[in-house]
């Protein structure tokens, strides 16, 4: 039987030959090329002094600030790497596992408790002592007297309302609701307009979001989560139960959905009231330039009771124990939290405000009263307890509130169950 090899005419049988080296060489070459690349393009060692900075904001906002820092510190360069919001934590975690950490890093307030208690951050207590009176938000990055970071920008939640729908429902659009009763009444009237219009946008179960939308009502009513020494749960209380019951009532005069859907409904003018954040200041002019809306503090339970509480979060600047340039990183951090620099970031991003005390008196915020309101809201905002198991605790609270929202539990049951879970978690380190 003959085997005809294509391209070889005739029936010439194949003779045994030494295996041709071409393919082997080709393979070796192909594997060598990327290795050569790596030698050429791998991490470059020591520029005069190079600070590696990981953060989340767009380059066009941050780069000007970093170039100014470099001018003030000749011989120092900053290598900024931008992280994505959705997966930045994974990257930071991987870096920490290998010891390959940046010198300066931006961390969100949600992740701070675990990082703090893992003893992963470098102690800056001495280096920032003089900044203490100038900034707010220190509780987020401190344990006891020791401070492990510096607050950069802060974020909170407030009440957004649609002025056009207010007018349509016969409400005074210059007087947003200030108490729970006024809020419910307004939501009810707008909801009754019908035609796809809804009153209040209640937050559905959504990790890391529901907590921030519901707790303002609990805090405003005087409710708490943990005892001051973080040893036991104080969540099971009448204040929290009443707040949850109120939230359920409010949801009936509106719609239950996720944050991005609620935001979109608000922008498209179909939602009268919603608790949301400052990112809307950026997206409303873009997606809904004609929308007539206003912002107000989160309503308090009553005129003479409770407070206009909200959620307090933010972005901290930290350095890791394994960072190579800790001192230089501290200087960069101090530079970035200067009032003018934090303001530059907040002005551009809009979704956050500077941690600088007194920032609301600056010209920019006087010209932008809605954004200024966010800073005012921050004065009565509550940070989350600095317990290492905080992420699990937040999840437990969200789970129970979600059960109540879906009608699977009464408010009292939900609050009691959440409190029990918190007590179980409090012992965890």
């Amino acid at each position: 039987m003959n085997i005809t090899s294509p391209g070889v005419p005739g029936n010439k049988p194949l003779l045994p030959r030494r295996p041709r080296p071409t393919l082997r060489a080709l393979l070796a070459l192909l594997l060598a090329v990327p290795l050569l690349f790596s030698l050429a393009c791998g991490k470059k060692g020591g520029a005069a002094q190079e600070i590696v900075f990981w953060q989340f904001w767009p380059a066009e906002v941050i780069d000007p600030l970093l170039r100014n820092f470099e001018k003030e510190h000749p011989g120092t360069t900053v290598r900024m790497e931008q992280l994505t919001w959705q997966s930045g934590l994974e990257k930071i975690t991987a870096a920490m596992a290998s010891g390959n950490v940046p010198d300066l890093c931006e961390l969100g307030s949600t992740w701070m408790p675990r990082m703090l208690h893992a003893d992963a951050l470098s102690d800056w207590s001495a280096g920032i002592a003089d900044l203490k009176p100038q900034l707010r938000g220190w509780e987020i990055c401190s344990i006891g007297d020791a401070t492990y970071g510096v607050p950069w920008v802060l974020g909170t939640r407030a009440l957004f309302y649609n002025k056009t729908l207010f007018a349509k429902a016969g409400l005074d659009s210059t007087k947003p609701p200030e108490t729970w009763e006024e809020l419910h009444a307004a939501a009810d009237r707008i909801h009754k307009l019908g035609g796809g219009i809804r009153g209040f946008g209640a937050q559905a179960g959504e990790r890391y979001v529901l907590f921030k939308k519901f707790m303002p009502f609990a805090w405003g009513n005087g409710g708490t989560i943990l005892s001051d020494d973080l040893t036991r749960s104080t969540f099971d209380s009448k204040e929290n139960t009443d707040a949850l019951a109120y939230y359920l009532e409010l949801a009936k005069a509106g719609v239950l959905d996720r944050q991005d859907v609620l935001d979109r409904e608000f922008k498209e003018g179909r939602l009268g009231l919603s608790i949301s954040g400052a990112w809307l200041f950026k997206s409303i002019p873009k997606d809904a330039p004609g929308l007539r809306y206003g912002v107000a503090l989160v309503p308090a339970p009553d005129r003479d009771r409770g407070s206009h509480a909200s959620f307090a979060g933010g972005e901290m600047l930290v350095s890791f124990r394994g960072s190579k340039q800790k001192q230089a990183a501290l200087e960069l951090a101090r530079f970035l939290v200067r009032p003018e620099n934090a303001l530059a970031l907040a002005q551009s991003a809009k979704s956050v405000q500077p941690a600088t005390i007194g920032a609301d008196t600056s010209a920019y915020y006087r010209e932008h009263p809605e954004e200024q309101l966010m800073i005012r809201q921050f004065a009565t905002a509550y940070p989350t307890p600095n317990h290492p198991a905080w992420v699990e605790m937040e999840a437990a609270i969200e789970d129970e509130v979600e059960q109540a929202l879906y009608g699977k539990k009464t408010p009292a049951q939900a609050v009691a169950d959440a409190s029990r879970k918190l007590d179980e978690l409090v012992g965890k380190k």
Partner: protein, 288 residues
């Protein structure tokens, strides 16, 4: 008549020429609507990508003005061309390496040419069965220790040899009759010749599949390029798009859809180019 003709000229169709339109019409009648309904989400993508005011809503996209503004913004954005180039370079390298190694290793495993073949085959399949979320950190540790982080190697080497591709080729070769190779050996051909001249051409369809799937997986790969590479100049397209279009609480729909549509085109091109080879009609008149 016992000649076995192996064809390695692309596109040689042993099948009869396609029937006239009338014969195809029946097929169009029932496949057409199915295809249209399956492509509806892409109508959504396209509409949103062409609208600058949609905010992610199809209704608002088609009721407003349509234009190429998002695409202009996409290609005007500073680094998008760089991201495209990086993705293309990395994907091309990975595809070439994948095809070569899958062909070689898949063949060797299928024909049991190395000791412990069972172990290796099982090992390949086993690594596919562990989710990458867990493998990510140890993989990162390996890369860090070898000083490969933040380089093109980080994007290419771990994916140059892919378990899935090897598995594909192995299964395929197991289905090829071994008689061809044995006959060639009787004729005096070396193993190397057998591999190159006989088996490799026969593997065309499966290698085309390997090429397509390697390109596809790599082109859209997000997690590993995200964590293995820090520098902007090495960034690939999916990571770059996410950075440019998504903030903590909102998505720039128009930009993201324009970017995703543009990013789909190279994969489509690769698919169209390679899918013909899947149909390169082998063993047309095979007889023993």
């Amino acid at each position: 008549m016992s000649a076995i003709e192996t064809r390695d000229t692309a596109g040689a169709e042993p099948a009869p020429p396609p029937p006239a339109w009338s014969g195809s019409l029946m097929r169009w009648l029932w496949l057409g609507p199915l295809l249209a309904s399956m492509l509806l989400p892409f109508a959504w993508m396209l509409a949103v990508s062409l609208s600058e005011t949609s905010g992610g809503s199809f209704a608002r996209a088609i009721s407003g003005p349509l234009g190429l503004g998002n695409y202009r913004g996409l290609f005007g954005a500073a680094n998008v061309a760089r991201y495209f180039a990086n993705s293309a370079l990395v994907a091309a390298a990975v595809v070439v390496l994948n095809v070569l190694t899958a062909a070689a290793v898949g063949y060797v495993l299928a024909r049991r040419r190395v000791p412990g073949e069972r172990f290796w085959s099982l090992g390949i399949v086993a690594t596919l069965m562990l989710p990458k979320q867990v493998l990510m950190i140890p993989l990162y540790l390996v890369m860090a220790r070898m000083h490969l982080l933040d380089s093109y190697s980080a994007l290419i080497l771990p994916f140059a040899v892919d378990a899935f591709s090897i598995f594909l080729v192995r299964q395929y070769v197991l289905g090829l009759p071994i008689e061809l190779e044995e006959a060639a050996r009787v004729d005096g051909a070396s193993d190397w010749m057998i591999f190159r001249k006989i088996v490799l051409p026969l593997m065309k369809p499966v290698l085309a599949v390997v090429a397509i799937q390697a390109f596809l997986t790599n082109w859209n790969s997000f997690l590993f390029p995200l964590i293995f590479v820090d520098s902007d100049r090495l960034r690939t397209l999916p990571v770059g798009l996410a950075l440019l279009s998504q903030t903590e609480h909102s998505v720039d729909w128009g930009f993201l859809m324009a970017g995703s549509t543009a990013a789909s085109l190279p994969v489509l091109v690769v698919f169209i180019a390679f899918q013909r080879h899947i149909m390169s009609g082998l063993l047309a008149g095979a007889e023993k």
